[in-house]
Symmetry: C2
Subunit: 404 residues, 2 copies
Amino acid sequence: SLRINWQDGVANHLNPLWLRERCMSELTVDTDTKQPKMNPHDLPENLGVEEAGLIEGKKSLWVSFSDGHTSEYSLDRLRAELVRFRETPLQVPAYKKLEPRLWSGGACRMPEFSHEEVMNSERTKLALVEELLIGGQVLVHGVPQQDGEVVRFGQMFSTLRATDWGACFNVRTRPDEALAGGDAGLGAKKDLAYTPKPIGFHTDNPYRWPTPDFQLLHAIEHCTCPDGHAPCDGCQVMNFMVDGFYIAELLREEDPEAFDLMCQVPVRFENNGGDNGSALVHVAPHFELEDGSEVAEGSRPALRALRFSAKSGQYAPPLEPEKLAAFYRARRRFSELAHDPKHVLSLQLAPGSLLMFDNQRLLHARSSIAPTDGERWVQGCYVDRDGLWLNFERWRRRLGAGSA
Amino acid sequence: SLRINWQDGVANHLNPLWLRERCMSELTVDTDTKQPKMNPHDLPENLGVEEAGLIEGKKSLWVSFSDGHTSEYSLDRLRAELVRFRETPLQVPAYKKLEPRLWSGGACRMPEFSHEEVMNSERTKLALVEELLIGGQVLVHGVPQQDGEVVRFGQMFSTLRATDWGACFNVRTRPDEALAGGDAGLGAKKDLAYTPKPIGFHTDNPYRWPTPDFQLLHAIEHCTCPDGHAPCDGCQVMNFMVDGFYIAELLREEDPEAFDLMCQVPVRFENNGGDNGSALVHVAPHFELEDGSEVAEGSRPALRALRFSAKSGQYAPPLEPEKLAAFYRARRRFSELAHDPKHVLSLQLAPGSLLMFDNQRLLHARSSIAPTDGERWVQGCYVDRDGLWLNFERWRRRLGAGSA
């Protein structure tokens, strides 16, 4: 291996294959795309470093390998990757990885945007995506109250994640009317969310794999509270948001074993297809951690996704008695913390409001709907995560925002 | 807890919360959808069983709990869930979980279907989905050679997984022409696959999270070998498929530690957005196992997904020297086994052929394209996994196929 002594006293032993994997010469990569051309078994099994040296005036290193090839490396790039492996991609000229900023209801302000500004300004679009990726939620005002607008809006930011319910779903609750029960066009699809009953904190569709990433909810028809103080007599329905990652971290602080059980015990999420004509079943733990925690230096593995939904069953497996009892205590505590009003952000949708949030991080809930609330038509859809990352990076570069 | 002694001598201790979670009374679930109405913290923390007994003539159990509620349970259902937790959902009347059947090239026959039959028969659609979920691949003949047909075909089976490349992508290679390099409509998106060069075995888009599940490739324009023996002089390009799960299991047999490293070491997959204008980065191990292996009785955790793509970088992290060297040996061996001709299924697309396969299980590769192969236009797209499961179960029930 090759030993590098950095000026700050740190030393690294670099594996020859690790170095060669990073070679950017024409022999190794397609020069247009920087995509490697060789398969892992195309290089000699015992590839070694023959010689190496610094290139004067270039902050670069040359390395000649035992198969006769010589590569050149930027020392800054090598060092950056040794320190921040996840944030130092090689096939791209710039990259910014956003870290989530966890929040508790009391201390949190919902980031708000006007639809007009979003439509007219790429900078506002960038700010919106940045909020979504950091805090997990945004509220947009003044979105045209039209059928399908939520899909058009979502597709400005990422690719649509349709389901068997269609491109979007309609939560259209008319209490005390025979119509209660969802989108008539689809033929009697049923879900608890399509009734006036309250729904506890949950993420959507944990019974799907892959699970929809970001959710949009657009209030096409909705009551309002005239003096701005919601709820009011004529408009009682409220929406609630809580940062599931924040709650999970509270649990980790309070009881690390409880947190571990929520990461380890697979539960069964279910759905009958809405019309009882099929079955969707996904077995997975409530919490999902970033892969390969062993590369993080001493730090705790970060949360990557979270799924929690009482109505989807989340049935526990038949574990041995003590472990199962501990798991139920852990989940009960998580549910209790999530529903604690001090962590919750309450809001009331207004006609034309659009709420967009990370469905694998935030939990959402809804109060009961009063008969006096009148017509309520909320249209929702999902979009994929990767498109948000892609547009964030594209718009960030185009607008010259932030550091590389 | 409640102790049940089954007639075959097995005894189970049932946790009161585990039992209550399975209560199907009106107090607990919405009777229309069977969705539970209570949050995990809504029940008493120390819920106990007060009394229980068999209901004569019904193969049922009644249980009265310490909060005064009484529930009834089917003994068959309880037993089934204790034995096969993953395959015994409660909110649905029937469910069949298909298990993958791994294959090696020599012993494998590609399942083939005619487009006309698929269009005219739900039974053929069911057979096609079943093949996809068990063997991971199907080939359909006679698909109309029209732009967009691949998307229409895919959407009969599941929801479309679009990307920033659009609803579909066009692999249109015209060697020795200035046009080489992809779909002109998108403005110079570039990828190794859009050149006449050979591409080693890979899965698509491991740099996306979520990763596209199933891939469709439709040959709109393609050369043919007149006497049916491919390749031939006028049509040299070949496609290759290998069952990544089969190869991974070979590795597990041969060297369990190598297999574990492929499950544990996170590598960095990258893409520059195709036009070098953005960045997609996903860090994950090559192999992904089913969650919660601790519930499987003595068996080895099954593979759930696999990602492998030399051109996407799959850069290894800076691990400690011995572990990194062992990882490179493991990956080299996997790559070697995957490219071993005895495990590979070779095929040549014909005009109107459509290949559909599990992109998180099968690896695909392509030979180089000869200038004499002429025009080649392959259009591809992706669809989601959950829609395939949903349609499988829906069609299976409707056609009364197989057992519940």
